[in-house]
Subunit: 306 residues, 2 copies
Amino acid sequence: MQVEYAPLFLGIDGGGSKCRAVIVGADGAVLGSGLGGPASPFQGFEQSIASITAATHRALASAGLEEARARRLHACLGLAGVNLPAVHRQVLEWAHPFSDVLVATDSRVACIGAHGGADGAILIAGTGSCGYAMVDGEEVLVGGHGFPCGDKGGGAWTGLRALEHVLRTLDGLGEPTSLVARLLTHLGARDALGLVGRLGGHGAVEYARLAPLVFAAADEGDKVATAIVREGAEYLDGLARRLLAAAPPRMSLRMSLIGGLAPLVTRWLAPEVAAALSPALEAPEMGSVRLAVQHWHERAAGQATG
Amino acid sequence: MQVEYAPLFLGIDGGGSKCRAVIVGADGAVLGSGLGGPASPFQGFEQSIASITAATHRALASAGLEEARARRLHACLGLAGVNLPAVHRQVLEWAHPFSDVLVATDSRVACIGAHGGADGAILIAGTGSCGYAMVDGEEVLVGGHGFPCGDKGGGAWTGLRALEHVLRTLDGLGEPTSLVARLLTHLGARDALGLVGRLGGHGAVEYARLAPLVFAAADEGDKVATAIVREGAEYLDGLARRLLAAAPPRMSLRMSLIGGLAPLVTRWLAPEVAAALSPALEAPEMGSVRLAVQHWHERAAGQATG
């Protein structure tokens, strides 16, 4: 005789620097959560799978469930990079340990979370940058093309611009503002060779760690840091305006600014963009759970009528 | 009884995109040459060694020599990235197949080649960018910190800036100049997703392949391409002025512009910088041979007196 269990849902939010997992019961109660490493399958498929697995195991443990219970989870994986068809296919082909899996972009689950499942828009300023809106069942996506060719205004872009300035100054070709000393001290480097040894060839996540220093310098009036932060904020303004223009006339689109840079960059945004922002209602991984629950109901309805 | 052979010299010029090898006899005659793949040990040590080995084997074959003759070669490896102490050490620890090995930066061997061993300066505009001078036994190095944090004005930087513009335009945030159509056609992409699928996550060499298109668009008056090319050329002007300032007063420093972008970027340089340029006398790998020969003579002299 088979034992009937109430369904369990797993929500994943996996980006370029970390992966968050949450397990929610049929009644909507959060049972456990866990954190994992970088989880963008575009940047590294094996790493992504490893991070999703680790975050899920931690969430199961914090819920007091054995790892074997993964088989019962109805999962939704919200992942960066799965808007690329080849990457999406690769994730779908994963021999996952769950009951079933739905794959969505990290932007989509973040937007669903931010507005509790209702229509709305998000402006992401984390390691990368991106604009996303869901209006009347239509997705709008602007930016978010990945570092280094896109993601302007994000942490990696901000850190890289600052690093460029420091290197230029050490070559005698830039102005030695306070930003230079700040970065050198932070990285424990004394010259260009030391800096490049520390950061050269590294990725978006390492550059993004420098972004808070750039905002701190800009807040104290450093000229170069201010120019970098302004240029990034203007790009984010542009993304926001494109999203707001996507809403039908007279509809007031709910828009949230999310990501690690959000608290730092808000005061640099154009006044009308800043005024259009509302706080996110739920975390991205909870948006992922919403999708998993919706999918489960749809299948249940399909089985009942089919 | 041991057979006495005349010495054979191997000159290597290894950069981020390719490796050139040349074999020269004791009389200075070029016996053979060969080409290999990317050879910057900073970007990938194993790849660098494989490229150096492949280029050397091809040079031996073109000289009509067996691979085993590598044991007779007095080699100088001019390699990108060996100004970093850790990278330099790693190359020195390689169990090489040669008689002996000298390791130098690619800038140094290029400068020695460009001026036939005499004092002078080089401005490199290839995949990356860099300025180097040797004056009275003193090295001056400006720029060349590697992509993406340095190397402004080089091919990778130029291509990346153009790609940023195309993506911004496809998002409705940039001006659709001729550069956009040019890049999309060249890459066989129709939208941002296609572009990122083709180029996202790729490296300096792939971005650098776009640089000639940017120069072509600038030459035809494209506004955005012109702004990118100008910004890059101004940076190269800055490197050149730093090098020219390094020469003692009244000494006329011989300066050469080398690298794949040289023919394209010259007309965009400041008039006084362009006027200060002289053609390179020898290829970088011949500069490497010069160092190998000099090293061999020094050791011979040391053995005679020691």
